[in-house]
Amino acid sequence: MRVVILGATKGIGRAVGRSLAGRGDALVILGRDPEDLERSARDLEARKRGDDGNPVGTAFCDLADRSSFAPALSSALEQLGGIDVIVVTAGAFAPQADLEGDPALAERVLDTNFTATVLFLEAARKLLLSLGGGTICALSSVAGERGRKPVVLYGASKAGLTRYLEGLDHKFHDQGLTVVTVKPGFVRTGMTAGLPAPPFAGDPELVARDIVRAIDWGRAEIYTPWPWR
């Protein structure tokens, strides 16, 4: 499988990348820090099953810079010779109190998780449809399921993303586009470090295993870890 991942240098994205590399999938990872991308690419190469010697590709892509989307996807297509799956795990999080006290931070989180991600996925959707179809897998959140006091703004941004992904699935499924919406619960990553972990908090490796299975099976929606459903 030929897979492009935006957000593979950290957290759940890193674990998804490792899971795919471990079974020998071809990868290109997108991100905004070239040095960080290279380090993650070397890590994924070392974890590839069978040591096939094929490099893991990288390309610059920054959700804060819309102009980077198309060149990044073109570069990934060129490096892989085709694309089967595009995964987006990149996102932003801040506690509700921080967001309420800092409008600039709130704008950044809302923009990253909704507007920028949707625009990137629009570019990804167009590319995959031009190639005859493929799978889009994006991380939304259980926080987008209903309004809750600790995640009013973050949850709203993810709720918007969930609805977009749902619509994308309805509209383009018949044209060969599979959309997988992932709704993680609390996962212990660098992004959530410092927050009190609730019961059923998950580890990135197990969440990644669920995500890869959902991609393989073409599931429209998954909750992971499962008790968060």
Binding site: K10, G11, R42, D43, A46, D51, G190, A193, G194
Partner: protein
Amino acid sequence: MRPTGEALSGWGGVSVPGREILSEDLSAASSGQPLTRGLGRAYGDAALPPPDRSTVAGSRLADRVLAFDSVSGRFKAEAGLSLRDMNALFLPRGWFTPVTPGTQFVTLGGMVAADVHGKNHHVAGTIGRHVNALTLRLASGETIRCSGDERADLFRATLGGMGLTGHILEVEMSLERVQSPWIESESVRIGDLEELLAALEESSRDWPFTAVWADLMAPMGRMGRGILFRGRWARAKDAPPEPPRQKRIFEVPVTAPNWLLASPLVRCFNWVNYRKHVPRQKSGIVHPDEFFYPLDSVGHWNRLYGKRGFTQYQCVLPRKAGRVAAREFLIALKRRGGNCYLAVIKDCGPEGDGILSFPRPGISLALDLPVGPGTQDLVDHLNERLIGYGGRIYLAKDAFTREPDFRAMEARLAHFLEVRRKYDPERRLHSALSVRLLGDRK
């Protein structure tokens, strides 16, 4: 990056108020922090914040493999990579760490900071012998590389320096090619301590991996009976064709009540463990986890000790003190009422390059003791004897040694402090251990 939790503890249960600053970017996470902590397997207070600080950097999310040469075995990774992850990746390909401690739940950075040793110390030395270079973030904030040729003083101080010379960000080392990923193992039940120690010494001549489990809970006459374990990597033709699968881990879900692991039960367990080793000598091809990491099969086994916790008193008795010293030492432990639930004895080879590296030629005794009102007195007494024999304690395990005793047993300390002064004159990097043993600010 935000702090996590409200208390940090060592593996033995020593707990202090504190939080970890966790991030995939260890360089950023360690900025301004007094110490970096890996997977928290130091038994005592080596990975705990000093009293004047409430946070330490946590390395475990910085776990990327940065390079691996499948011809030479040269390997580079971020310091938070766990040994379990590394073994899972490289053992099926025929490569293994040249030195492994008794648990896989340690990070590369932690292995370097403690300059860990294993069952093969008599032939392979400590991990430091196989480390080619380190990337450190100094107290000044500067990121530098050091090795045996480049800033050699800092490199040597960092091997076994318990994280007090710089935040270890990356480790470059050489892996060892193994004939197969399985272990050819032998174990022998021996009824007498003297005989057991002699067999350990003799086995070390022919076997790369040797260790002894001794029953110190047995009545005085039979105290020290035990089982000698020895092993080597199995030859490909003798090993199963498929690589070993990672073993399932059974978790101890909660801290047990203190009475659960009471002396009579442990005495009984040890008796069964000794008696069930039938025939007297056994051999076979075994899973490497079973051989190297028997305790890892029970997750959070430290919880079995209850809220009181436990300490491991690990020391090395110099070769010149002889086996008699080991016997005297263990008898003294027993006479002072020390209930040693688990005792592991190993043979140590030549001293490593690390300035404060633990092993030296002689016998290493690792003694697990439940913590109680008499623990401090017991450790003081054992240290007094240890100083008399010219031995030393292992900082990765220690929680009770006092500063004057440490100074008396550690002639190399002045050299370590001199290097530390050069790179961190204000002792900005410090820990609960360095406050206790090196007189750092509280």
